[in-house]
Symmetry: D3
Amino acid sequence: MAATIHAMPILDVTLMTGRSYEKKKTLIKELTDATVRALEVSPERVRVIVREIHPSHFAVAGEPKGEPE
Amino acid sequence: MAATIHAMPILDVTLMTGRSYEKKKTLIKELTDATVRALEVSPERVRVIVREIHPSHFAVAGEPKGEPE
Amino acid sequence: MAATIHAMPILDVTLMTGRSYEKKKTLIKELTDATVRALEVSPERVRVIVREIHPSHFAVAGEPKGEPE
Amino acid sequence: MAATIHAMPILDVTLMTGRSYEKKKTLIKELTDATVRALEVSPERVRVIVREIHPSHFAVAGEPKGEPE
Amino acid sequence: MAATIHAMPILDVTLMTGRSYEKKKTLIKELTDATVRALEVSPERVRVIVREIHPSHFAVAGEPKGEPE
Amino acid sequence: MAATIHAMPILDVTLMTGRSYEKKKTLIKELTDATVRALEVSPERVRVIVREIHPSHFAVAGEPKGEPE
């Protein structure tokens, strides 16, 4: 099916630093599985990129979420 | 727990055009649920952005996946 | 000053559709001025890109902010 | 007003490394204030992410802006 | 070689609208070839995404590069 | 020519860590040259940003490409 062949979703995840590798690995696996189920694509087509941001570089309402180390 | 308060993940999903709204809505819901489970954050903290790319603007091995309409 | 020469900030703004051009133009001007003031760079070095997302492609807590048209 | 409720702008700022935290904090605050003024949204809706790039990873005219450390 | 296996570069190209498909297709091919040569990866590993921005949504020095249509 | 004046392409390259600076410098130069040729723009208009991702933060089929250090 053409739509499936063309899927190739890229999940770009922006996350604050401070999560363990185990949690991030679980997140990657769960996001991939969710995409496979929802879009009916094969897992090999799904790419996940995790970009970590230090809390001093992430702000809501103009306030950074943390100080630099 | 500080780590949970600071989570605020942003999922930026790049997808080729051609999926139905129902499929994309399911994808958004599934990705959010996966993030809630994996990172133990409340759903309100999870944002999903879907950016659709026409197949003529997405290429593997130098070959676009489709022609412009 | 080297730091100033090297500044070249790129502001990538993700916004839901529905704003008038006048509002977006004002936003672009205000963001540029804010960057010039805060980083002490010349305006010519500041680039702003606005990427609009339809509410059906933007979700909080797993719920898209609107239906497709 | 629906347009205001749906605003939720995300400002993704790419900046070369070398700025003090104080300057970046001022930038974040100024960008948020500019967005609040221009789009008439509440500050709580505005998110700013700062992504720093080393000068060796940023190039104009094919020339990186610095050497690796 | 592990480094080659792990390459998988993603080229995310932001371009103003107004280019012909032929030009964009050439760009995609040339960027892919350049990556293959420079990183010694197989073409199948290189993905190119083109994201077009209308001139009214792209600004230098606070001035959008065009008016909306 | 208006189209050329308005070009200003930004190439955002996501790459796994582990490449030498020489390879990345060559990549930046080659990508810039490719863009100049394909779009007929002057080199000064082309910006390249390299964002490196650790293999533990990049996954295909739900499997990260490496362990954290």
